[in-house]
């Protein structure tokens, strides 16, 4: 069932280098499985990467962040979740009448909206939300600054630096 086309080999290598190593470093179980996964999984990871990018379309966030999540989702899935993810990806393509991720963004969104409420849609949306917005590398891009104890809080670092409105009296 596994066919080693160039693109799939490339995907696997990228996963190992970019997504895989970062995830392995995070100690999340199943990552090694993901990195060495069957080529069929790599196709799914690419599709889910596109799904989560469409759900959270941040152009300023590196695409690898989305793919890290997709790889983790696929790599840590138990057998029933894995089947659900596989079926969800297949369903996107079925509704697209081809390869869903190659459609334009408007048509992709329309098909995704139609999948709302499915376990596939919920798993990617909830998991993607948590993965992205608890990642300080991501939220720092939006201006969030994370833990502050080590830096002495914000008492001397701008808790009252707003200068475009009068000071309360």
């Amino acid at each position: 069932m596994t066919r080693h086309s160039d693109s799939l080999v490339l995907s696997r290598r990228n996963l190992l280098m970019a997504g895989g190593s970062a995830l392995a470093a995070s100690g999340i179980p199943g990552v090694v499985v993901a990195a060495g996964a069957a080529a069929a999984d790599a196709g799914e990871i690419v599709t889910i990467t596109r799904v989560v990018r469409d759900m959270f379309p941040h152009r300023i966030v590196p695409i690898l962040k989305f793919r890290d999540f997709a790889a983790r989702l696929v790599g840590t899935a138990d057998s029933s979740t894995a089947a659900m993810l596989k079926q969800g990806c297949a369903e996107l393509d079925r509704r697209a009448g081809g390869v869903w991720r190659t459609l334009d963004s408007k048509r992709r969104r329309g098909i995704l909206e139609g999948m709302g409420g499915t376990p596939f849609f919920s798993a990617v949306r909830t998991g993607g939300l948590l993965a992205l917005y608890t990642d300080l590398d991501v939220t720092r891009l939006f201006g969030y600054e994370g833990p502050s104890l080590e830096k002495g809080g914000y008492l001397l670092r701008g808790f009252n630096d707003l200068d475009w409105l009068p000071v309360p009296t």
Binding site: D54, P57, Y133, F142, F159, D161, L165
Partner: protein
């Protein structure tokens, strides 16, 4: 720590939060031995996590519940409709420190609001005047800013937005005071350094909690036996109807029994009602204190809702105190607005993960992503208003599902009253106006699903037939069984409940100590 024998009749308190921790401390300082049962474990400042989602996972009471009715939680979070804490200190670990007194009229809502169809509104058996000395003491114990000569905090950025918006809109009553967060070192606790993680457990102890204050003080007296990981499952009584022992599951999952001369229940409204209901017996077939059928009923949790606005320039709302101040003008009772009771408007910041979750409930895609990318330009507002008690908004024991011990899980049923909907709509309009007043370029309004203020499931009443406990929290039908927490509130008021819970707990502790002193208990 002191060990009290399980056969030694002690005062047994269930729950170590604002109420249980306060009553325990008051009694041990008067020489009375107390066994304090806490379902959670001890989580200290070194363990608190400055990450909203991780802290949520660490602190939150996750035991399964079931929500029914037409409130939002029943569809969006049916297995976990409440957001409370399971740890030593209870929900004082995650509260935001807003320490407001109730208003005089809120003690007599039935009289002042009149007959409101579809509610079970009742006057409190005490007045503001009765509670004033205890509010004074509570504010001193908690170190509330703006009271007892304690300076207010300097205004942070998010508060500055609220203040200016309110002034431009024409409001007059705005304050950054009445926070139980030290503005300077006091009572052995540090002064606030504006870390911005009030809700995750304060890592420097500047925010008051029973974990940071009453419990260590109580342990130091040598008269407190704090048992963590111990979940009370049943209160037993003798033939005369006096509470005689508390059965609990210890940290190893083994059932234990502690002989008691007085029992105080302070498990937060849902678990308090549950343990009273689980304690049914031949003498009390529908549960303890439930002779008139009020246990679990009249559950309230405040009208809520959040508004976030993209400001023309940066705000950085995450810098500093999470809920730094409030606007009180809409907290009045004024029926010309189309509803009874009132609501507070509070400046509020949330971290990106929480904000994303709130936005996600309404929409997904480009609109949310663009909003999230403006995080440093956002200001946040929250409303907190009086919701209507209804007899059928209630905690019951679930008919189907059992917990690990084979005990029925709590079911919380809420049907939202029309008055609550009108108030929420008014609040949304007002917060939209406030955002516009300071030039917001985009505004998003979100609904809050998880109930953090839980009240009313064992309400106090003058006549036994109207409630569960008297004004001291003593169960009408059992002389030595007390309810100490927010369950005793007949109505929610607009204000955050903790200061009132502590004031009532101080009053109750005085009463218990006095009765024990004259051999009355």
């Amino acid at each position: 720590m002191t060990e009290i024998s399980k056969r030694d009749p002690a005062v047994v308190i269930i729950g170590s939060g604002a109420a249980g921790g306060t009553v325990a401390h008051e009694l041990v300082t008067r020489g009375i031995k107390v066994v304090l049962l806490e379902a959670g474990r001890e989580i200290g400042p070194a363990e608190f996590i400055q990450d909203d989602m991780a802290a949520f996972g660490q602190l939150t009471w996750m035991d399964k519940r079931r929500a029914t009715g037409n409130w939002l939680a029943a569809t969006s979070s049916p297995a976990m409709p409440l957001w409370t804490v399971k740890a030593v200190g209870g929900s004082t670990l995650h509260w935001n420190g807003l320490a407001y007194r109730m208003q005089a009229h809120e003690f007599e809502p039935r009289t002042r609001y009149g007959q409101v169809a579809g509610t079970s509104l009742a006057d409190w058996p005490i007045t503001l005047e009765d509670l004033l000395p205890f509010y004074e003491r509570a504010e001193d114990k908690l170190g509330v800013t703006g009271t007892h000569g304690i300076p207010r905090h300097p205004a942070n950025n998010n508060y500055r937005v609220l203040w200016n918006a309110a002034k431009r809109a024409g409001y007059g009553s705005i304050s950054n005071g009445n926070l139980a967060i030290n503005s300077e070192p006091r009572d052995g606790r540090a002064g606030c350094i504006q870390m911005g993680f009030c809700n995750q457990g304060c890592k420097i102890g500047a925010k008051w909690s029973t974990q940071a204050s009453e419990i260590p003080k109580a342990i130091a007296t040598g008269r407190l036996d704090l048992r963590t990981g111990c979940m009370a499952v049943r209160i037993e009584h003798d033939a005369s109807g006096r509470a005689s022992a508390v059965v609990y599951r210890d940290g190893n999952g083994v059932l234990q029994s502690q002989v008691a001369r007085v029992v105080c229940v302070a498990g937060n409204a849902v678990e308090t009602a549950r343990v009273l209901l689980l304690s049914d017996s031949g003498k009390f077939p529908s549960g303890l204190g439930n002779g008139w059928g009020h246990v679990g009923r009249h559950y309230t949790h405040h009208v809520g809702g959040g508004t976030f606005g993209v400001m023309p320039k940066p705000v950085n709302m995450h810098r500093g105190i999470s809920v730094p101040g409030s606007l009180f003008d809409e907290a009045r009772h004024d029926e010309t607005r189309g509803f009874v009771g009132g609501y507070l408007i509070q400046a509020m910041s949330v971290a990106p993960s929480f904000l994303a979750s709130l936005l996600d409930a309404e929409d997904w895609g480009e609109r949310n992503a663009d909003f999230m990318e403006k995080y440093d330009h956002l200001a946040g507002l929250l409303i907190c208003g009086e919701d209507m008690p209804r007899a059928d908004n209630r905690v019951t024991l679930d008919r189907e599902e059992l917990d690990a011990l084979g005990l029925r899980i709590p079911c919380i049923h809420v049907d939202v009253h029309e008055n609550d909907r009108r108030m929420e709509a008014h609040g949304r309009l007002t917060t939209q106006v406030l955002m516009d007043a300071v030039g917001a370029v985009d505004v998003r309004q979100v609904r809050t699903a998880l109930a953090t203020h839980n009240m009313g499931t064992a309400r106090m009443s003058r006549r036994p037939e109207d409630g569960v406990v008297d004004s001291f929290g003593r169960v009408h039908e059992m002389p030595n069984l007390f309810v100490s927490d927010g369950s005793v509130f007949p109505s929610s008021s607009a204000e955050n409940p903790t200061l009132t819970i502590v004031a009532l707990a101080l009053r109750q502790a005085d009463s218990i100590a006095e009765r024990l002193g004259r051999g009355d208990l």
